[in-house]
Symmetry: C2
Subunit: 441 residues, 2 copies
């Protein structure tokens, strides 16, 4: 929970710094709001029951359906663009496995009510800022625009087969080229040549080599050629160019951007830019932050057309990755300093010392009982404290405190009295600054 | 949600600074964990159902029962003292009213596994730190120790009537002295004299007048007299003295402490110190942060004896109070600055300006479309932005930005270029510093 909360805190700060405002919605929604809004699978996995008031209700399975309900209900009172974030648990009664739980937290941010490319760009900038604020340096944001794929399908006369085609395409990284072509032929009923054309285009994946979207020019030209001058594809490519250049202007390091025409992400839903975010040191864990532009958020709840764009940080997946990469602190305490309670006559003095450290921004815990020092230091080790402060009768008399580094067991002596705590504060700070530097430590 | 999240963030920071670690537990618990653990009322209000796996489950109605279940299950792996906080929603199917909802957030902190008075003192220091960090100056922490009341009941030979007596006593502020005595006589079956003795003692309520617990000496002497030398009462008074002196040594301003023998708070449960926290400017809203020491947290789940102490911030009640006291900001954006999108040729320049402000810690939003300035300023007003930054063709050419204070409509001009944003940053900072100073603004 310590790294979970820190990441959620960083996400909140990042979203706010772009003007996204928090909302919350109830865990329970009327069943009619939730049913039929996701897939057959989410319907099956729904936790639902009849409440004491006879209402059929369910526990939300994502934060998008509640946002759609909320937007449909309140949009007349909300100025657009309506920018919201929502960090909250959702529930799915599925079979659990590593990184998949029946209750898990989603961190969503969305901008509703604008078609502007500025919102597309901003989504990428938010993801970049968020990943860097968490402490990542090596990650790649893969960018696509659904219009490119749509344009190709239009050009090939396969628009009506878009859904099965793109579902098959999503499986490409897993099942490989041959099996994907076979599935497209079998399920979507296209020719092998058509399937090959789609896959050939989707396999365009290119990391940025220069400092603006011109480094994609050769690929863009190839995409234009493959799509035979189709207008939809052309607009998609132009929009991609503008999106990428905007993100770089806003400070995204070009080395973190990759054009990837294969990413489709449930294309029934997305209509414009699509992004996925991969850790360079663990790409196999999948995208840790994904999203895109959609045409009509609240279509199921209102006639008003509400376009939007947003993405979601996969908190549990990111934490699983960080654990695998050994980027997580193991301490079971959020406070680095334990004040040993040594001389029972000095109870109030230890309490005051703790207050003085906290006033200087140093989180610390006072051991509550004057037990043997060994027991207190064992507690400190078990919990992962970094420093123990030890003052017995002699130290109090001499105006000194032992500052013990629990990692290397080295102690130094610091001058301390209630009226001038700065010697102790400086000693603790300097010892903490030598810490190991886990992300989020 | 903006002030809600800020208070929750302050609570997290405060709890952590004392070494409390976050835990989370699932919203759903097995029904057998929840049933019969609260009152008849919480049983009736439980949201419960049978899940797809045939398990009878319920949604937690507080955070204490899940803590008890968690502690019973894991205490062998947790070092004690185990200090945890838990900020999460709970659900009760009750009739809603102002400040009472079917889903609401509790902010609990508890220390499990120690009987030390240091933990009693720390609870008061945490509450004081939390209230001050939120921004309150005028509040009172009322302190009692259940042992004082227990001692009196022992002295009067009424121990077996403790539950109905104290339930009646809890009603004293609402129904008055006469009705409380009548109820004690009718329900608990005590004599009018006995009822009067209990009430007379409970009415001891005294704000601290000196700078340590000696200012209570006259009251303590009276309590000792009334309880006729009873040992339980004597120990309770000594413990109160130590608790109050420790809190003051740890930095709690004595003017914020009040001895109040009447507070009982469901005395079946609490066994030692009890506290309630009142806003001096709105005491009628009730206690906004309450807690105390209990003997046996997990008795229903394990034979191991787990004493503990903790308190809970009533987030919804506190927000209701802050709204009534006009201490809440009204802005619907967490970002104070809106960058108007004015010159469509400069899209990437506005994006870069936004990034530079954020890098300096200034949260800002760029309007996503080059609409008419009037529409953008209306949006800024609707959302409660404090500052609009306006740069058109001429400003960009001249290397300047208009910084408009949206509260008093005064504009100043700041020098700005991507390479030297400091003039703009300083202008924005200085304008923000003149803001109205709502708590949490």
């Amino acid at each position: 929970m310590i790294p979970r909360e820190r990441i959620m805190g960083i996400a909140r700060e990042t979203f706010r710094s772009f003007g996204f405002a928090p909302i919350d919605t109830p865990a329970l929604e009327l069943l009619e709001v939730l049913s039929g809004k996701g897939s057959d699978e989410t319907d099956r996995q729904l936790y639902k029951f009849t409440d004491n008031g006879g209402r059929n209700v369910g526990m939300r399975f994502d934060l998008t359906v509640p946002l759609a309900r909320f937007a449909a209900q309140h949009i007349s009172k909300l100025s657009t663009p309506f920018k919201r974030y929502h960090i909250a648990p959702v529930w799915r009664g599925e079979n659990t496995q590593a990184g998949r739980y029946r209750e898990f937290v989603q961190c969503d941010f969305d901008t509703i009510g604008t078609l502007s490319v500025v919102a597309d760009i901003e989504m990428i900038v938010v993801i970049d800022s968020l990943m860097r604020a968490i402490g990542f340096d090596r990650f790649t944001i893969r960018v696509n625009n659904r219009a490119v794929l749509t344009g190709l399908l239009e050009h090939l006369g396969l628009v009506e087969k878009a859904t099965p085609m793109l579902r098959s395409l999503d499986k490409l990284p897993k099942i490989g080229r041959g099996a994907t072509i076979q599935e497209m032929v079998d399920v979507a009923g296209v020719s092998a040549e058509q399937a090959e054309a789609v896959i050939a285009m989707a396999q365009c994946s290119e990391r940025m080599s220069g400092d603006n979207a011109a480094s994609y020019d050769a690929t863009f030209a190839k995409l234009l050629e493959v799509t035979g001058g189709n207008e939809t594809a052309k607009n998609g490519i132009e929009r991609l160019r503008e999106t990428v250049n905007g993100a770089i202007a806003a400070g995204v390091d070009p080395k973190r951007l990759q054009l990837d025409v294969s990413i489709a992400r449930g294309l029934d839903y997305y209509t414009g830019v699509i992004v996925e975010t991969f850790l360079d040191d663990l790409p196999s864990i999948g995208s840790v932050c994904s999203g895109g532009r959609y045409d009509n958020l609240a279509g199921l709840f209102t006639k008003q057309h509400l376009p939007g764009i947003g993405a979601s940080l996969g908190l549990d997946r990111l934490l699983a990755a960080m654990q695998q990469l050994e980027l997580l602190p193991t301490a079971a305490t959020p406070a680095p300093v334990l004040i040993a309670f040594f001389d029972s006559e000095r109870q109030n003095d230890y309490l005051r010392m703790a207050t003085e450290l906290r006033r200087q921004g140093i989180a610390c815990e006072m051991y509550p009982e004057p037990k043997k020092l060994g027991a207190q230091l064992k507690y400190a080790d078990d919990k992962g404290f970094q420093i123990a402060l030890i003052a017995g009768k002699d130290e109090w008399t001499a105006g000194k405190v032992q500052v013990k580094d629990l990692r290397n067991k080295v102690s130094i002596e610091a001058v301390y009295s209630h009226d001038s705590p700065s010697g102790l504060v400086e000693a603790v700070r300097s010892m903490l600054n030598q810490s190991e530097g886990h992300l989020l430590a």
